[in-house]
């Protein structure tokens, strides 16, 4: 499945740099976030995006300002790729008033409406109709904005998949459904969940042009979304992209993932999306290892600063909460 970048040595450095930095930022956010979780600083669910960075990175990088995304319970990566401020994300995880949702939402509900991110979601599958709705709003107001909903193999067995995508299709919306097929829903394998594991076929059966891409290759995802987004803006939407990938960890921080076979982990580790983004930089630009190491350091520093910021922040008080509720 891993393939060479589609167009040889021809990508602009700015693009490759952005892709690398985004993927790496997600990697750092998740790895360091897990440490914060283990230190007891984060409560609730934490579903790491480790291993799937290519998808959010490739997809969001291909979008324009004004476009929308709708995300999942595994939403940190999408949020970062869509341009969120790391410190506001960390503050949210730490339940602080300076967080994206003032600590009301947490990991599963971070939204960044200013950036067009309609939010993570605690309900598997919900992002599909929500994203279609954003695409519908765009069409009604005559905007050519595109909406990408990130969804999952598990969600493709849920009724929201059929209903949402079918509505997008009959209305020719600027909508792209990205199925992140990481081959598991918690510990349930995709083979146990459906007979037809080529999920993109479900899109075809609704008359939606659909295809599979290597979900560990940020450029493959970028190309697919760029292509679909362009076609959307020409009135040819919607599209479905199935991006095949694999988690590096268990389902959430407390899941050891013992059901994940070593060979598969190894196979995908060899196709690590962050490494791949890095290799693209080395292969296609003049950037040196040292320069990339400097990027890394910057990214790590940004995260460290975010933690400092978040820890120094206060929480919404019960009084403020009750005051807010008076208008609820």
């Amino acid at each position: 499945m891993p393939k060479k970048p589609s167009a040889g040595n021809t990508r602009p450095r700015a693009l490759l740099e952005k892709i690398y930095k985004t993927a790496k930022t997600i990697r750092v956010f998740e790895s360091e976030g897990i440490k914060l979780y283990r230190r007891g600083l984060i409560r609730g669910y934490f579903h790491p995006y480790l291993g799937q960075e290519a998808i959010a990175t490739g997809a969001c990088t291909a979008l324009k300002e004004g476009d929308y995304i709708a995300s999942t319970h595994r939403g940190h990566g999408h949020c970062i790729a869509q341009g969120a401020e790391i410190k506001k994300m960390v503050a949210e995880l730490l339940q602080k008033k300076t967080g994206y949702c003032k600590g009301y939402g947490g990991s599963m509900h971070i939204a960044d409406i200013a950036k067009g991110n309609l939010g993570a979601n605690g309900i598997v599958g919900a992002g599909t109709p929500l994203g279609v709705g954003a695409a519908l709003a765009s069409q009604i107001r005559g905007s050519d904005a595109v909406t990408v909903t990130f969804t999952s193999d598990g969600a493709s067995n849920n009724g929201t998949f059929l209903e949402g995508l079918n509505l997008a299709a009959i209305w020719n919306l600027n909508f792209i459904l990205v199925i992140e097929n990481n081959q598991y829903a918690v510990s349930t394998t995709i083979e146990e969940s459906t007979r037809e594991t080529e999920l993109y076929k479900r899109g075809e059966s609704l008359g939606v042009p659909s295809r599979r891409v290597d979900g560990n290759d940020p450029l493959a995802v970028y190309d697919a979304i760029e292509d679909c987004a362009k076609l959307c803006r020409e009135g040819k939407g919607p599209f479905l992209i199935e991006a095949v990938t694999y988690r590096h960890t268990g389902h959430h921080v407390n899941d050891p993932g013992s059901y994940m076979p070593d060979e598969k982990k190894k196979y995908y580790a060899e196709r690590d999306p962050v490494n791949r983004a890095r290799q693209y930089l080395l292969d296609m630009t003049d950037l040196t290892e040292a320069q990339i190491a400097a990027f890394d350091a910057e990214i790590e520093q940004e995260f460290a600063d975010a933690v400092t910021f978040a820890e120094a922040s206060g929480e919404v008080s019960v009084e403020e909460f009750k005051e807010f509720l008076e208008t609820y």
């Binding site: 929308y68 709708a70 967080g99 994206y100 949702c101 003032k102 600590g103 009301y104 939402g105 509900h109 939204a111 409406i113 309609l118 939010g119 979601n121 605690g122 309900i123 919900a126 599909t128 109709p129 929500l130 994203g131 279609v132 709705g133 954003a134 519908l136 709003a137 765009s138 069409q139 009604i140 107001r141 009724g159 929201t160 059929l162 209903e163 949402g164 079918n166 509505l167 009959i170 209305w171 919404v316 807010f324 609820y328």
Partner: protein
């Protein structure tokens, strides 16, 4: 400008029409609402006026329609999603309860969801158990939802216009029996704010609280009781959430006796909640227990007589008012 007598369904159409004309973000989707003008003709003519982009027929996909409406609202549009029967809204409960109602809080107040679900409930015409429910209590219990139940053309228009200008998800619950009822509606522009009960008839002996299709029945009961010199105050909350407890408590302070009538089943209904509030906040005002006249604890049967027996009729309301009026303090009481 003059008042005219128009039907409830026309009042609803005027509200949608005026707000669509005023705000390009307003649009409406539903089954058979465009070409066919809707099962109750509420949307008749809107397709011709506003075009296919803003007036759309949908497939039979209630969860999807509601979800799409919620998503569009989050993205800043003002969708109206028409669901043919409130019973079918159960297919979209997830989107209503977990998404629409919670988004504002979950985003710390930054996200808003000006989503309107228009639908209708109640018994009528033998459409049986899956097309006759009164489910307002389900929405009423969910923080973040506004629940609106107009009983007259005037209220219907004013409340729907207001709904289209505020920023929270609204369950706009019409009644299948009311669409063809008539009432005075001004020509000119007006809106009715949420949370303002309307005293549909003033009275001094008993407070009779009713909404939606129970209001005409309450009014009929009041008229009948008036013949016996009983003065009934009919309070129509119009919006259940927010609930105008002020007006209700003021009326109770005056009458000391309360009957609440709802078409929905007694158990766990909104009437129980209103009763619980009154007894908590006006305990010493009450001269008799609050009496609830409500639907039986049953799905609605197909058979006409059983259907009628399942929901409050005018004589039931009359009897309940007489009962609370003639309520004597039992001998054995302290």
């Amino acid at each position: 400008m003059a008042d005219r007598e128009i039907m409830y369904r026309d009042a609803l159409r005027e509200a949608i029409d005026e707000e669509m004309a005023a705000n390009a973000q307003v649009f409406i989707i539903g089954e058979g609402i465009a070409e066919r003008g809707g099962s109750y003709k509420v949307t008749e003519g809107l397709l011709a006026k506003y075009g296919k982009k803003r007036v759309r027929d949908t497939p039979i996909a209630e969860a999807g329609m509601i979800g799409v409406g919620v998503g569009a609202a989050i993205a800043g549009a003002r969708p109206i999603v028409e669901i043919l029967y409130v019973d079918f809204a159960m297919l979209g409960m997830e989107m209503i309860v977990n998404q629409a109602a919670k988004f504002r809080l979950m985003t710390g107040g930054t996200g808003r969801v000006p989503f309107i679900m228009r639908t209708q409930g109640g018994t009528g015409g033998g459409v049986a158990a899956q097309h006759s429910q009164s489910l307002e209590a389900l929405f009423y219990h969910i923080p973040g939802l506004k629940v609106v139940m107009p009983s007259t053309p005037y209220d219907a228009k004013g409340l729907l216009k207001y709904a289209l200008r505020q920023d929270d998800p609204v369950m706009f619950l019409e009644h299948k029996h009311l669409y063809m009822t008539k009432g005075m509606v001004p020509e000119g522009e007006y809106v009715i704010e949420f949370g303002k009960a309307d005293i549909k008839r003033e009275g001094s002996d008993v407070t009779l609280i009713a909404w939606s299709n129970m209001v005409p029945r309450a009014m009929a009961a009041a008229a009948e009781l008036a013949k016996d010199g009983i003065s009934v105050e009919v309070v129509d909350p119009r919006t259940l959430s927010p609930l105008d407890t002020g007006t209700i408590l003021a009326s109770v302070a005056k009458t000391k006796r309360v009957v609440i009538v709802q078409e929905a089943v007694r158990r766990g209904g909104v009437a129980s909640d209103i009763a619980s509030i009154i007894q908590e906040q006006a305990f010493y005002d009450l001269d008799a227990p609050i009496t609830i006249v409500a639907g039986l604890n049953t799905p609605i049967p197909f058979n006409l007589e059983l259907e009628k027996a399942s929901v409050p009729q005018v004589p039931d309301v009359v009897a309940a008012v007489r009962k609370v009026l003639h309520h004597d303090i039992p001998m054995a009481a302290e």
